[in-house]
């Protein structure tokens, strides 16, 4: 049995008394020590997936359906209280913006320690020692000194390391990181991404990495799930996804990324806009922008099916081949 198993996960909100479903039946699984990337553009539902797994969508008034099994427990059936003890201790969340996820009035060391003391019965001095150990593991120079500092005294990269330390201090088994490097400079992003890889390998924990950046995915993930307009459209190992992308959206997305040495004018673009959750087209949500779309695509939503090579894809092009 998989370590994290998400099945038909769906989130529904009420907007103007009408149901809006920004996340439609997502299924995937990941194993311990694995790095799964979820990639998608604005409105694809990638962050919502993370929030739904953590049971956080319920707070903002959304209804969650489907099932999330984590280490044998069914998370969606747990009470809010039971979920609170899992959040932070077994599943840690690293939010998008390190600049705003630290409380400006407390010393950073105390903020890391707080998370540790919430979940473990430790003396203060022991806890501090553990925090310093974690900080050192995260390559924070002069950990003793940084421990005493306030968030505004730290650079963006250091703040993000502190936020990661907060996530790691209770020894979680699954780390969910939502765009952890988006707010950082490129050279610092490279350091943080490498750090994530080292942590997951050395601690053997699972990492669910949510990002819009396919470059980051290619660097550290084992598997990647591509999302579009609330649907999971392709799920594959990275070698397969980047080597031979199957879904037309994945193919188009990869062609949108410029690279050094590319000839001027050779960049491809996907025309049109990502549909909003309030008026998603019938059938496959990508069909109005898809160069391969045919009549079936306009009426029926393709299901995610396994194709040869182990990749899973939700596209009628491949479903026909199967039949």
């Amino acid at each position: 049995m998989a370590f994290l198993e998400v099945k038909d996960l769906e989130v529904e909100f009420q907007v103007d008394k009408k149901p809006v479903i920004p996340l439609k039946g997502i299924s995937f699984e990941m194993n311990e020590g694995e790095v799964l990337g979820i990639v998608g553009e604005t409105g694809s539902g990638k962050s919502l997936t993370a929030h739904a797994i953590m049971g956080l969508s319920a707070m903002s008034g959304g209804k969650i359906r489907g099932s999330v099994k984590f280490a044998g427990q069914s998370l969606l059936d747990l009470s809010e209280k039971a979920m609170q003890s899992i959040r932070g201790s077994q599943i840690a969340f690293i939010p998008q913006n390190p600049m705003t996820s630290l409380d400006p009035v407390y010393r950073v060391g105390d903020q890391i320690m707080e998370g540790l003391l919430n979940h473990a019965d430790l003396s203060k001095s022991k806890a501090k020692q553990q925090v310093l150990d974690i900080m050192e593991k995260l390559n924070i120079p002069k950990a003793e000194h940084v421990f005493q500092q306030y968030p505004h005294e730290l650079s963006g990269g250091l703040k993000q390391r502190i936020v990661i330390a907060m996530g790691l201090c209770a020894n979680p088994r699954l780390l969910i990181a939502d765009e952890p490097t988006t707010a950082l400079d490129v050279t610092v992003q490279a350091q943080i991404v490498r750090l994530f890889k080292e942590i997951t390998v050395s601690k053997g924990i699972g990492l669910l990495l949510i990002t819009h950046d396919l470059g980051v995915i290619a660097q550290i993930c084992d598997k990647v799930a591509v999302m579009y307009a609330g649907n999971l459209v392709e799920l594959a190992r990275i070698e397969s996804l980047f080597g031979s992308p199957r879904h037309p959206y994945t193919q188009a997305l990869l062609n949108c990324i410029p690279s050094i040495g590319m000839k001027q004018g050779s960049l491809a673009a996907i025309y049109g806009n990502v549909p909003s959750a309030t008026d998603c087209p019938d059938g496959c949500p990508f069909h109005p922008r898809c160069p391969h779309s045919f009549s079936t695509c306009e009426s029926t939503m393709p299901t995610l099916i396994q194709i040869e090579g182990g990749a899973k894809v939700a596209c009628h092009l491949y479903q026909e081949n199967q039949e």
Partner: protein, 322 residues
């Protein structure tokens, strides 16, 4: 080709004040002795990390900020010597697209009204019905429908807003457009649309661009020539197609190495340690000396000046890589 813009020795510094009586606690040299020129029809890229002065540079060029010293010659006229009135007229020839499309338009204005504003500001009069036609044409030019004119900014997506910003800038038919991270807030597929749009516009309208970005891959793809900045100084000025092959400055090389290719077989090799140092009390020698892996004693003592490279670029390094 002749130069449309010539910048020489441009510097600006900001006082940093703190405390009860706003005592001056230091000076940040945001842009430091910067010189370069842009040829007519060229796309010049400016790349660097936060704090390198690239956005300040853009604002200096439009005189939204007054420089301490240096000169900015546009079309043969030094715009720093121009009186305010003349400058406000001259601004129609040089325009700027801002980074954040979400806040670049007055939220109370419809798109149509926002697009009318440049004409009002520059006192361009229209015959009856002529204005509507002009604005519909502008909207079409950037790939929108005339119907979008009735919308308010909050009803548009980020990409659509950025198209409107571009339309607004094109209204007065400028020769030179500064693009300050125009795609940084957008998704990659939308970024690609905007870049394609800009490529098309440049061709059709014979525009000259200064393109500012933190994304070296994007800059090297879109631009003809690239300036690499670090802590307010130009460290390298290089033709875009030699970036991947022969970067001369160790910092340019480090930026290339920190790019994540969307290709799992090309894992990034060495990465630059540390972060951009505080802009207070810059090192005496080379600004990059504190992070450079090839650093020598002389780098910490003596500041390298920009000198010509074989390929016609410029580099400020005592020990250039090529």
């Amino acid at each position: 080709m002749e130069n449309l813009v010539e910048i020489s020795n441009l510097s600006v510094s900001f006082d940093v004040r703190a405390g009860l009586f706003l005592r001056k606690i230091g000076t940040i040299k945001a842009v430091n002795e910067v010189s370069f020129s842009i040829k007519k029809g060229e796309i010049l890229g400016v790349v660097g990390e936060s704090g390198c002065g690239k956005s300040t540079l853009a604002r200096l060029l439009l005189r939204l900020i007054e420089p301490d010293s240096g000169s900015i010659v546009f079309n043969g006229n030094d715009i720093l010597q121009m009186p305010r009135k003349k400058l406000q007229q001259e601004r129609r020839h040089m325009q700027m697209v801002f980074q954040d499309p979400y806040s670049a338009m007055d939220p109370r204005y419809t798109i149509f009204r926002s697009l009318c504003e440049p004409f009002q500001i520059q006192n361009v009069a229209f015959a009856e019905g002529e204005r509507r036609k002009k604005i519909d044409a502008l909207l079409r030019l950037v790939g929108l429908n005339p119907e979008h004119g009735f919308a308010y900014p909050h009803a548009l997506s980020g990409g659509q807003k950025q198209r409107v910003d571009i339309a607004r800038v094109l209204a007065l038919s400028p020769q030179f457009i500064i693009l300050d991270e125009p795609t940084a807030a957008l998704d990659v597929s939308v970024q690609a649309q905007i870049i394609k749009l800009l490529e098309g516009l440049r061709e059709r309208l014979n525009l000259t661009f200064l393109f500012i970005s933190h994304d070296l891959s994007l800059v090297s793809y879109f631009c003809d020539r690239v300036i690499v900045m670090y802590l307010g100084r130009i460290v390298e000025n290089i033709a875009a197609d030699s970036i991947g092959k022969r970067p001369h400055h160790p910092y340019t090389q480090a930026l290339i190495e920190s790019i994540f290719q969307p290709d799992p077989s090309q894992k990034s090799s060495t990465i630059l340690e540390g972060e951009v140092p505080s802009p207070f009390n810059l090192p005496l020698g080379c600004v990059f000396s504190s992070r450079c892996k090839y650093v020598q004693p002389i780098c910490r003592e003596q500041r390298p000046t920009l000198h010509k490279t074989e390929e016609g670029g410029q580099v400020a390094c005592h020990f250039p890589l090529y």
